[in-house]
Subunit: 215 residues, 2 copies
DNA sequence: TAGATTGTTAATCGATTAACAATC
DNA sequence: TAGATTGTTAATCGATTAACAATC
């Protein structure tokens, strides 16, 4: 693997390649050319070859790519073979949805703890994990390896909890609050801004509507 | 408003501007320059001015932008003043999380129906809305205005339900399944691929780890 | 060998940033 | 008026696409 910086645009496409390759595997396709894959995915063959060559030459001239090995290679690049240990902070609807989302485990993410501050929820069991009092977070983190905190707490407390996560040395933060976290720690934050996404959908609907009205 | 095509990169930044302006309003700041805002948001002042000027000249030389009116302008552009009527299909954990997510209503999205196929869930009430049998979807759509369907059903049935949504003439689809929908109808699809987002976080963590190991 | 398709360089396109005249 | 800051044009940067020699 060469050391030149891989752009975030490329990284974000990797999970999509991975999904398509998985589909191909499942329908029993053994090899695929960048041309064929480009048609399926609706992107250019050039882009596929450029993207893959950021990480190495996985193909073979005159043949194309072996689906299974390319699938594995991309999995390796994304770290799917590694296990990331994650905790969920905030066991409301969203936190529970994440806890029950089976696909994460398949991709190497293992939920090992769930925390909340609501006495009605503390002590409940979700997916065989007892919901702990958020007060026990410090203790838990000292006794367990925690790579990622998934933050599903109300807007008002997000900033302070994110800060705590940073202070405890957790390196990855998956944030579901509609807010840009600024914490003075060395934490990698990935945001899921649901309402932003919904607003983009609203914009596109409006635009479409206006366009149609004009015609 | 001029008619030249606005790039999707700009559109995606609008909700973020909207959030920051809302924060400014709440702390009582009345006017702001692109320079000041750029520092807060961590982007360039140039970009802010370019973005806003896609939609019109909202500022004033020597003064900057009036926070409240800019907030409202961006809200209008995004269609926040309009009401979008939405239904949730799939009342599992994720569907329930969406139903209970208060921020949507604030942004003009109103949930008017929830559907599921599980007899244990049908008939339950979520946020004052009775969960209906998915079989009643056709009937519901003929009797109500439905702009958006929020799809939170299991992977296996996503494609067929998305197809049905298209057939019923619903124009917007918010998809939570890890799959790229291809439906032969004129539907605007916005995807929330949670596992893709998580995989990107995993990649970044790995990369950081490898970088640190090297030093 | 001939055909196919990659890996990679070069060209193009679009998005971001810089610069500055216009103007409040 | 002088200072500040926009709106907008020009320059730069980066990402995508095209082209083609290398090679299986």
């Amino acid at each position: 693997m060469n050391s030149k910086k891989i752009s975030i645009a490329v990284i974000k496409r990797l999970p999509r390649y991975h999904r398509y390759l998985n589909d191909l595997l499942e329908i029993g396709i053994k090899r695929i050319s960048s041309k064929e894959l480009s048609i399926r995915m609706g992107i250019t063959a050039s882009q596929i070859r450029q993207d893959l060559n950021c990480f190495g030459g996985f193909g073979q001239q005159g043949y194309g790519y072996n689906v299974e090995s390319l699938y594995n290679e991309i999995g390796n690049i994304m770290g799917i073979n590694k296990t990331f240990y994650a905790i969920i902070i905030g066991a409301g609807n969203m936190g529970q949805a994440l806890a029950n989302y089976v696909n994460f485990e398949k991709r190497g993410f293992k939920i090992i703890g769930i925390f909340d501050s609501n006495p009605d929820i503390i002590g409940k069991t979700i997916k065989n994990i007892e919901v702990l009092d958020i007060e026990k977070l410090d203790e838990f983190v000292s006794n367990n390896t925690v790579d990622i905190a998934m933050l599903c707490v109300p807007y008002e407390v997000t900033a302070s909890i994110a800060d705590k996560v940073g202070r405890l040395g957790i390196k990855g933060l998956w944030n579901f609050s509609p807010m840009d976290l600024k914490i003075p720690y060395d934490v990698i934050v990935e945001n899921v801004h649901l309402s932003d996404s919904l607003m983009v959908l609203g914009y596109k609907l409006n635009e479409k509507f206006n366009r149609e009205k004009k015609n």
